[in-house]
Structures are given as structure tokens and as C-alpha cells.
């Protein structure tokens, strides 16, 4: 079942750009899909103007109104909502999940993780090799995975293990051994984190604490190379057959669907294969990898089965809702805070280095109920803005019975027959009630519908 151009635009933006608005549909429905992809990819290499500035967010967001979301995270979501480069912000958020470093525990602090986000942004449309290298000696990461206390006498294996297991190679198939982890830990010894009087952190290499012996990692020999030695380790890891497949797999799983495979090398999913080929051919260029992903016929297939779908992450839903109703996060976060917490995703605070869940694993009892209730965050925020019955002040809301218009108003490709029938029966049950009240009900139900939740 083919999709109309407008449906493809909606689905693409709902997958990779924090959601489509009616204005997006107006602009792009009549233009080729490839034009939209190039537009999304057209992100300037100079990231200076777009870096997050910790000094700004404490002014913007009153943290005393939220229990769970930090001011830094709320500020970042405001950026996600308003940026001219939503694909950039979305992939930076993806890499944040991939390298899952949390500021919630105090060491690193939120400001340190924000600095890591800025590091990610510098490389998100550049080279994955440079990205991994930068993260390996990023102060927040050194603190998070104990790289800053790893010395030649007592090498700490934490980062070495996760470098292979979570960041570059994965475990299906597992192509590294315990011995590789121990040897890699030796390579990574000698790094420290310094803190200035203004609490600015920096990574520093201390040759006295570094193991200068020869190491054998993944079948290769690494000899003493001081503060460049970690680069050789990364080169060895990225040379492994499974590396481009693993990185491609993570991208496909984040933006398209969960591939149905048990061995990335023996039986890769076709979309994973295409993206991996791109990474190989371009020496790990990420912009090209995103382009390959978004233009692939496997990505563009109509999505009638779970094999081509994914459950949208909480932050995507919250930012999309904010875009649809022009809700500034310094206010909206007050209402959305507890739903983000119950849905299980607060930026800058992943639950562990394993990152956030994927797709259907978001659908816990508590998380599903929070998704059901998310529309209330919108209504509450609008109510504060208009100071009267919330939706009555919003002139551009469709009449409650016009579900086609509601679908477009919420940036959705369409509604299933079942959803439409259920909502229409609901409208019959509420017939005769005050129209803004019925509109509220429709909004709540559509922001809890399978079409909103699953892309």
C-alpha cells in the first residue's frame, strides 16, 4: 500500500526531525522527497552558533518547578523545538543515547554532559572515527566510566569493555575476548580530568600513569605512543568487520525499525547492510550514512507491519507536541516533567551506560499510562497561556468531528480504520456536550493513538 507524498513527509519528519507540523506539510508535500532529505542534511559544518551554552539555560528555566527534568535538559528540548536544523538535533540526541552519559549522579555534572553534547555536535555530521576519539577522552566520559582513575598499576576495564560492547562492535556476533578488554584497558591508562577554578573540566594525559608496554588487541600489536595511543586502539576497533555493521544497526534501530536478525555479519538486514557499506566506502562519514539511510527504498517502504515500524521515544513526542502548539519549554516543562519521567526519558540523564530502551520496550505499564495522559500536559499548558478554557483560545483547531483535519493538524500520516471508528463512536457518546470539551477529548485520544505513538 503506497503512501501519498504528504504521508511520506509526515512519516519522515516524525521519524527523524521531532515531528511534522501543518506548515511542514504545506511546504514539502508538493516537492520531491529527495529535496526534503537534502534540506534536512544541509547542516553547516561550523557548529559554533548552535552549541548549548550552560549560562543561558539557568535563566530560561526555573528548575524549582520541575521534579525530574534539569534546567539544562529543558533548555535542550527548547532548542530541539526551535532549531532550523532538526535532523542535526535529532542525531545529536541519538549519539547522546549511544554514548549514554548521565549528569544526574553529580560526577559528571550536567554541565559536563552538556560539554559532551557540544563535542558530539562537532562530529555528528563528520567522521564517526573522530567522534569516538573525541568521546574517549571527553572529561564527562572519563568520569562516567572510570577512565580518570585507570593507571598502569591498576588499569580499569570499564571504558575498554563498553568501547567494544556498546560503542563500536556489539555482541552479536561477539568478536572480542576478555583478553582484548584487558589489553585495551592498558592502552587507555594515564588519562586524568582536571578542574579549573571556574569548574571547567579538561582531559590531561599523564605519561607517568600510562602503561607503555606492548599490547595485543583484536589480533593487532599496539606499541607505546603516549597520548596518541588511544587513537590506534580506535583504529583497530573500527577496522573490525562487524564495526560498520554494528553502527549501521544502531542507526536503523533508532530511526526505522528493529532489524530481525541474530548475527550482523552472517545475516545482516538489507538496510543495515546499505548503511554499513556507506560507512565503509566513505571512511566513516556520518552525513553520507544518514543520506544512505533516509534515501534507501528499505527506509521508504510502507510500514504496515512491525518489521518497518518503531515506537516513538518520549522526547520525540514531547517536542513534537510543543511544536504543534507553540509551547515554550520554560512553561511547558512544568506540565510535561512528570510525564517524561513516567515515560522514562529525561535528556542528559539516561538510566545507565546502556542508554534508553528501544521501540516496544518503552511500553511499560507506567510508560503506557503516561503516554495516554500526555495530552493533558498540552491542555494544562495552553490553559495557563489563555487563562480560560484551554482549547477555546486556539482558533486553528478543527471541529471535533473533522478527523481528517485533526490528523493533519497533528502532523500524522493518517489514522487506521480502527482508530477512526473508535474515536467516532466516542464522539457519538459525547454528542451534545460543549464543543471545546469534545475537542479536548479528541486531542487526548489522538495524542494517545497508535498512529501518534508508532511511526
Amino acid at each position: 500500500m503506497a503512501m501519498t507524498p504528504e504521508q511520506e513527509v509526515a512519516r519522515l519528519l516524525n521519524r527523524v526531525a521531532f515531528g511534522a507540523t501543518p506548515a511542514d506539510l504545506d511546504t514539502w508535500a508538493e516537492r520531491p522527497y529527495e529535496d526534503l532529505v537534502e534540506h534536512l542534511l544541509d547542516v553547516p559544518s561550523d557548529v559554533t552558533q548552535r552549541q548549548l551554552n550552560p549560562a543561558e539555560f539557568r535563566q530560561a528555566v526555573d528548575e524549582s518547578t520541575t521534579l525530574f527534568t534539569s534546567a539544562a535538559a529543558a533548555h535542550w528540548m527548547q532548542v530541539m523545538r526551535t532549531t532550523a536544523y532538526p535532523l542535526e538535533e535529532r542525531v545529536v540526541f541519538f549519539w547522546h543515547d549511544h554514548f549514554a552519559t548521565s549528569g544526574a549522579g553529580g560526577a559528571p555534572r550536567y554541565a559536563d554532559v552538556v560539554a559532551q553534547i557540544n563535542t558530539i555536535r562537532r562530529h555528528a555530521f563528520g567522521s564517526f572515527r573522530e567522534l569516538v576519539a573525541a568521546i574517549t577522552v571527553d572529561p564527562a566520559m572519563l568520569m562516567w566510566l572510570d577512565g580518570d582513575v585507570s593507571t598502569k598499576d591498576k588499569p580499569n576495564e570499564n571504558y575498554a569493555r563498553e568501547l567494544f560492547e556498546l560503542f563500536t562492535l556489539g555482541t552479536v556476533p561477539q568478536r572480542y575476548t576478555e583478553e582484548d578488554v584487558r589489553e585495551a584497558a592498558r592502552v587507555l591508562t594515564g588519562w586524568e580530568v582536571t578542574t579549573s577554578l571556574t569548574l571547567k573540566r579538561a582531559a590531561r594525559f599523564n605519561p607517568a600513569k600510562h602503561d607503555t608496554g606492548t599490547k595485543q588487541v583484536l589480533g593487532r600489536t599496539i606499541t607505546a605512543a603516549g597520548d596518541r595511543e588511544y587513537r590506534e586502539l580506535i583504529d583497530v576497533a573500527l577496522d573490525q568487520e562487524v564495526a560498520p555493521l554494528f553502527v549501521a544497526y544502531k542507526l536503523v534501530k533508532a530511526f526505522a525499525y528493529t532489524p530481525d536478525t541474530v548475527d550482523l555479519v552472517a545475516a545482516p538486514d538489507p538496510l543495515v547492510d546499505e548503511v554499513a557499506a556507506s560507512l565503509r566506502a566513505t571512511d566513516w562519514d556520518l552525513r553520507e550514512a544518514y543520506r544512505t539511510l533516509l534515501l534507501s527504498p528499505y527506509f521508504r517502504r510502507p510500514d504496515a507491519t512491525r518489521g518497518q515500524q518503531l515506537v516513538r521515544p518520549p522526547v520525540d513526542l514531547v517536542v513534537h507536541a510543543a511544536k504543534l502548539f507553540d509551547l515554550d519549554f520554560d512553561d511547558f516543562i512544568t506540565s510535561a516533567d512528570r510525564y517524561l519521567a513516567d515515560m522514562g526519558q529525561i535528556p542528559l540523564a539516561p538510566p545507565s551506560v546502556f542508554g534508553w530502551p528501544d521501540s516496544e520496550h518503552w511500553l511499560t505499564t507506567t510508560g503506557t499510562i503516561a503516554r495516554y495522559l500526555l495530552g493533558w500536559a498540552v491542555i494544562t499548558s495552553l490553559g495557563r497561556v489563555t487563562n480560560r478554557f484551554a482549547l477555546a483560545g486556539h482558533g486553528d483547531l478543527p471541529p471535533s468531528g473533522n478527523l481528517a483535519a485533526w490528523t493533519r493538524r497533528l502532523g500524522l500520516p493518517g489514522l487506521s480504520r480502527n482508530t477512526e471508528l473508535a474515536v467516532r463512536d466516542h464522539l457519538l457518546a459525547l454528542a451534545g456536550e460543549y464543543e471545546p470539551s469534545i475537542q479536548e477529548s479528541v486531542l487526548l485520544l489522538l495524542l494517545a493513538s497508535p498512529e501518534w505513538e508508532v511511526v
Binding site: M143, R161, S352, F354, L363, I369, A422
Partner: protein, 440 residues
């Protein structure tokens, strides 16, 4: 790193049960109204508490002195100069059958030690599985699956398969995870368990106009016409979540307990056991055990926290939280596991000293006092063999397996939960543990 290393169901992200249409099909509006068979009150129950991150078993059950042929304490002192616990602080495991082993509990485990002295604590030593993995994700999956790693992701867990065998009645919340997401351990081919992270669960849409009509509409999302679609799965999770919330609408809320530890989750588990939901198996985790550095203080705090949680579970806190209903206490077994132990030798020095991932570690089982109405009772004390630690000149790197994890599981399934069929086809290969349970 100070935060939990709790891992999600698939850290590699490969779909669990990708071929199976997920089953919440038994759950719908009628489910929440179903009567639970009163006979479920007499069921024997199991709480599995996973110490998440890899608990340092060698500092939980600690050598006090050397024994003939095994200079454990000497090795311990040699390789743990910073994190080693002085012998005089240890709580001796000195029941007559155990005293010769010269072992003691971590000093923070005072309530646990009291239960040991009453014969209500069994300690199975050296528990692990073959082809040990040092990865949190892989090893946690092995323990929840109840199977050594096979190179492919597991799609079911040993308690899920148990639920499949014994069957779950309509309206029963027979298997529950007090965790934020449905755990592998409770996944079967048919049964999936429920996740109840905390109580109360509310649909605080409740007082708003149109709320009940909206629930009725939302549960219809489960009938999505795409047969193999995540949209239908979402709809069915919506229906079952609303059903669970309605079923637990009258459940008492999780009490507030001072501190941040595992006591609230263990009390939520207790609420589920004490309620009339047919709850038989409960799974929960205490995070924080991945003590690569700074272990001395962190591990001590975790041990204290664990001990306090066990104490409050059984005895309450002398204020708002009363003692556990004796009917439930007499029928409940708590099993404490971890995805692996830690290395024998410490890493780092002084306050930053910690340990890297290890292998075998003890499993603790807490049981009730004997009761005339209950057919089985746990036999307290030390079981299995302490793994070798090498010599002072040549200390061993890791504690190796002396008891197969599957032997513990099979024993609990057959002798406590009365599972009619064996979990393992070849269960005689790793044996049942003799003496873990006794007929009352």
C-alpha cells in the same frame, strides 16, 4: 560512575521474541473484573531480588580464617589490602554444621545474620553457569533466562516458562516485576508477567469530564487491524495497562521509607503478595553494585540498604508499616542473586580501590520459620563448596563455579514452587541441591 548499571532487556537491542506476537491478549476490560481463585492465598511464593551490577560476593560471605588446605583468609588479606574487611568485624556463620568453614557475613548484614542464626538463611556458594560471560548484559540475560549464553538473544526466562507450565488464571497478576520494564525472567512463550514499578498506579484522568468514555475508547486501540503491527501491540499494551491500573486501584500505596534504597520496591512486592491478585513470583533489582572504584563505602552502603530492606519486609518499621502477614511470610522465599561476582584481587588503592567483573558468587535464600500448615521449609546454612582462592604466592584471579545456577533454579522450581515438570531436560546433569528444602 555512580549511577545504576541496570541494563534494559536487550542492550544489543535485538528484538526479544521478534517472531511472536506479543501476548496481552488475555487482558481486556473483563479481565480486571475477574475473581481470583481464593486458593491462590495458599500458594508458595518466590521473590527474586537481583543485585544489579555484579555483587562482590567475596565481601558478602567473607573468609574469617584459613581452613586446612585452603588459605583463604591469607590470600584475601594479600590481595585486598584496601577493601578487605577486618576479621573481627565479620558476623560469624557459626551454626554447628558451618563453623568449620570459617566464614562470616559483611558487618552491615545484622538482620540477615539474625535470620541465619534462626536457620532461615541458606547460602549456596560458588554459583555460576558454564561459559561465563563478564558482560553485564550477557550475564544478566543468562541468569534471567536460566541458561548459559548461546550467542543468540534469549526470548524467554525461567520463571516465564514456569508460568507457562502452571498456567495463569483469568484476572491473576501471577508474575510481577517491580521494575520499570517487563523483565526477561518473567517472559514465557504464552505468559508475560506484568510490570508494576510502583504503587499507586493511577489514571489521573479520572476526575476529568469524559474520562471513562475515553478509557473505553483507548482499550479499543487493541483491535488495530494491522495483524503483525507495533500499532496493535501498542493498543494491547494500552488495554492491559488500563486493566492493571483498574485491578490495583484499591491497592495500598508503596509506603514512604527513609533513604533511597531497595526497601520501597521490596515493600511494593510485599503489597502485591499480600493482596488478592494471585501473585506467585515477584522480580526486582537493587542497582548500584558495579563497584569498579570506591567500593569500600559504596558496597557497605548497599549491604546496609539490602539488610534494612529485608528487615522492613519481614518486620515492618514499628510505625506505619506493620509486620508481614504471617500467612504470607510462611509461604514466601526470597532468593538474592547477581549477574556475577567480582575479582578476588582489588583494583586501585585506598579509597578509590574497587574490583573488576568476576565470576561465581553466593546466592542467598531467605525462608520462613516452620509452620504446621505449610508443606515445605527452607533448611538454613551453608551449601556447596567455597571456590578455591589459590595461594598467597599464586592467588587465583577469579572464583570459579562450584554450583551450577540451574541446580538452584531446578531445586526452587520443583521443591518450593511445586512446578509439575522439570525446567531442564537434563536436570540431573547438574543435580538438584540436596538439603535445600525439607518436608515440614
Amino acid at each position: 560512575m555512580t549511577l545504576t548499571r541496570r541494563r534494559f532487556l536487550q542492550s544489543t537491542g535485538l528484538a526479544v521474541g521478534a517472531s511472536a506476537v506479543p501476548v496481552f491478549g488475555r487482558v481486556g476490560p473483563a479481565w480486571a473484573d475477574a475473581e481470583v481463585d481464593p486458593a491462590t492465598r495458599d500458594r508458595l511464593r518466590l521473590v527474586v531480588l537481583a543485585l544489579d551490577g555484579g555483587n562482590d560476593g567475596l565481601n558478602l560471605v567473607v573468609p574469617v580464617e584459613d581452613v586446612p588446605g585452603a588459605p583463604r583468609r591469607a590470600v584475601y588479606d594479600r590481595v585486598r589490602p584496601s577493601i578487605g574487611i577486618p576479621r573481627e568485624q565479620l558476623l560469624r556463620l557459626d551454626r554447628p554444621d558451618d563453623a568449620d568453614e570459617q566464614l562470616g557475613l559483611h558487618p552491615a548484614l545484622t538482620y540477615t545474620h539474625g535470620l541465619y542464626q534462626e536457620g532461615r538463611l541458606a547460602i549456596v556458594q560458588g554459583v555460576d553457569y558454564p561459559d561465563h560471560s563478564y558482560s553485564h548484559a550477557t550475564s544478566s540475560e543468562a541468569w534471567e533466562c536460566g541458561c548459559p549464553p548461546s550467542g543468540k538473544p534469549s526470548s524467554a526466562g525461567w520463571l516465564g516458562r514456569h508460568l507457562d507450565r502452571v498456567g495463569v488464571g483469568t484476572g491473576e497478576i501471577r508474575g510481577v516485576g517491580v521494575v520499570p520494564e517487563l523483565p526477561l525472567i518473567l517472559l514465557g512463550e504464552r505468559e508475560k508477567g506484568f510490570e508494576v514499578a510502583r504503587l499507586p498506579l493511577t489514571l489521573d484522568d479520572g476526575n476529568q469530564a469524559g474520562a471513562s468514555e475515553r478509557y473505553a475508547t483507548a482499550v479499543r486501540y487493541a483491535d488495530h487491524e494491522e495483524a503483525e503491527s507495533l500499532r496493535r501491540l501498542y493498543g494491547r499494551r494500552m488495554a492491559s495497562s488500563i486493566g492493571v491500573v483498574q485491578e490495583l486501584a484499591d491497592a495500598p500505596p508503596t509506603p514512604n521509607v527513609a533513604g533511597n534504597g531497595v526497601a520501597p520496591q521490596l515493600l511494593t512486592a510485599r503489597t502485591m503478595l499480600e493482596g488478592d491478585h494471585g501473585t506467585e513470583v515477584v522480580y526486582l533489582r537493587q542497582p548500584g553494585y558495579d563497584t569498579h572504584e570506591g567500593q569500600a563505602n559504596r558496597h557497605r552502603d548497599l549491604m546496609a540498604d539490602l539488610d534494612q530492606a529485608i528487615r522492613i519486609f519481614y518486620d515492618g518499621n514499628g510505625q506505619a508499616i506493620g509486620p508481614l502477614d504471617p500467612h504470607i511470610r510462611d509461604r514466601t522465599l526470597i532468593m538474592v542473586t547477581s549477574e556475577f561476582g567480582r575479582r578476588i584481587g582489588e583494583n586501585g588503592a585506598g579509597a578509590v580501590a574497587g574490583t573488576d567483573h568476576g565470576a561465581a558468587a553466593p546466592v542467598l535464600l531467605f525462608g520462613p520459620p516452620p509452620s504446621p500448615d505449610v508443606p515445605r521449609v527452607l533448611r538454613g546454612g551453608l551449601l556447596g563448596d567455597h571456590p578455591p582462592m589459590g595461594t598467597v604466592q599464586a592467588p587465583a584471579d577469579n572464583l570459579v563455579m562450584t554450583t551450577d545456577m540451574r541446580a538452584v533454579y531446578q531445586s526452587v522450581l520443583t521443591s518450593w514452587l511445586a512446578d509439575p515438570e522439570p525446567e531442564y531436560d537434563d536436570h540431573h546433569a547438574f543435580g538438584e541441591l540436596p538439603g535445600l528444602f525439607a518436608e515440614a
